[in-house]
Amino acid sequence: MNALSADVTARTRLEFRDVTKRFASKRGSGITAVQGLNISIRDGEVVSIIGPSGCGKSTLLNMASGLDPASEGDVFVDGVRVERPNAHVAFMLQKDLLLPWRTIRHNVEFGLEILGRPARERRGIAMDLLAKCRLRGFEDHYPHQLSGGMRQRAALARTLAVDPSVLLMDEPFSALDAQTKMVLQQDLGRTLAETGKTALFVTHDLVEAIALSHRVLVMSQRPGTIIEEIVVDIPDISNPMARRTHPHVGPYVARLMELLHIDEADA
């Protein structure tokens, strides 16, 4: 077992307690997106969620970020019930969402600006993170001058800048080409390990989920619920590139494919 699961005293960062989310539909019956979710993520843990399209993975992140309230049950971040957007969580999407009129540095400072931090402090944090995300020298560039991979790294720096307790990531690398994607996974794995951040990671990529996380949660078709938890017993969380080639990856992927019925799905 990995080190984290042995440490039962580790603090819970993010918790879903019996969470159900229903959306009103035009026919009036309503759609249940997710049902009876119980998830608990400890400090410093990286957890991936994998599941069929439309199973409510993104709904989960919206509830955790406070953008969208749960219909039933509660979401807690650091033991505090999430009722509205707050500075303890930050999310990152497939699109980099960099603002084209801001330089890379000012994009990274965006969240800090909204929180009203002084300019000098913002600048220090942004420059530090840009260096960590290998974007030193690009702080005064505009987003359109950067490649897709660099932009996504800038988006990661922007997410880390507000120093959130929990990072919520919704398929952040799915728009990148295969090689860039692996480089960014490596960056993310290293950065998360260095900063000791807790992350909830939604992805479609089975190997990505295994390479990056301590645990993988598998969701069912709508109404989405957790049908399996796989603890990834591969060492060195800070090195996803090496983890990819570990002999355990094959059996884990096989198990996930079986759970997701990928062999039976219509392409």
Binding site: L67, P85, A87, K95, W101, I114, L115
Partner: protein
């Protein structure tokens, strides 16, 4: 390139000067270039040409600025509130379809031979391209950017000032470019309909006197006012939108 455009300009002047007489077109139909130049100099001395030009330019500028501000405010309000747009859109559409210059006589009845009716026609005519572009830009903002800002705990004002306002700037400037050329039309029509000042007044005076050269001088000056305004907008746009890729800016 510069030499080619200068050459073309000289060629144009020469064609204007000697072309019509060579084809037997009389000077009261197309006055040659030198006659228009002499008329320009005469008008400077006798007809207070600079005074009338500055009156027109001032009205264009005021109409442009007020129309721009109004278009911007209404564009943002409608862009942010779907219900306001739903309620107001039929009226706005009707006003947009109505030929704005047709309001000139009405404004003259209301406000007399003052600067007000001319400015109002310009305001009305400038308002639409600005408003439509700002409205469209606010509507086109990626909802995920708004979600991101909200997740960072942005309030309504921050959302406007950090997202909606800067996002609307490129289309706003595209609207201003169109508006710059339209503002001159609005003011001239106002002056043609009623007044005893401005280039529009000189235009109708020249027409009444059968002074074709005078009409030519006036048209050229009106065009110059439009060019100066347009050029100023392009300069400001370059300063403000410096973050845009050069090609996208040129196309916009």
């Amino acid at each position: 390139m510069a030499a080619a455009s200068l050459g073309l300009f000289v060629l144009f002047l020469a064609a204007w000067q000697w072309g019509p007489p060579a084809m037997g077109i009389p000077a009261f139909i197309i006055p040659p270039a030198d006659q228009v130049w002499h008329e320009f100099v005469r008008m400077l001395g006798r007809d207070q040409l600079m005074y009338h030009t500055s009156i027109t330019a001032l009205q264009v500028l005021l109409g442009f600025v007020f129309g721009m501000l109004l278009g911007m405010v209404v564009g943002f309000v409608l862009g942010m509130s779907a219900s306001a747009e739903f309620v107001l859109s039929p009226y706005i559409l009707a006003l947009q379809i109505a030929p704005k210059v047709a309001f000139a006589p009405l404004f003259v009845i209301w406000f007399g031979y003052t600067m007000t009716p001319k400015i109002l026609v310009a305001v009305l005519i400038v308002f639409f391209p600005v408003m439509i572009n700002v409205l469209g830009a606010v509507r086109a903002i990626d909802p995920d950017i708004v979600r991101l800002a909200r997740a960072f705990t942005a309030n309504r004002f921050q959302l406007f000032w950090k997202i909606e306002f800067p996002a609307a700037l490129p289309p706003f400037f595209a609207g201003l470019r169109i508006a710059a050329t339209l503002a001159v039309i609005g003011v001239v029509v106002g002056e043609l309909v009623g007044g005893n000042t401005g280039l529009g007044y000189l235009l109708s005076f020249g027409e009444g006197a059968g002074n074709t050269a005078m009409v030519f001088v006036t048209i050229i000056l009106l065009t110059l006012i439009g060019i100066v305004l347009y050029g100023a907008i392009v300069l400001i746009e370059r300063r403000v939108l410096h973050f845009m890729p050069a090609r996208a800016r040129a196309a916009g």
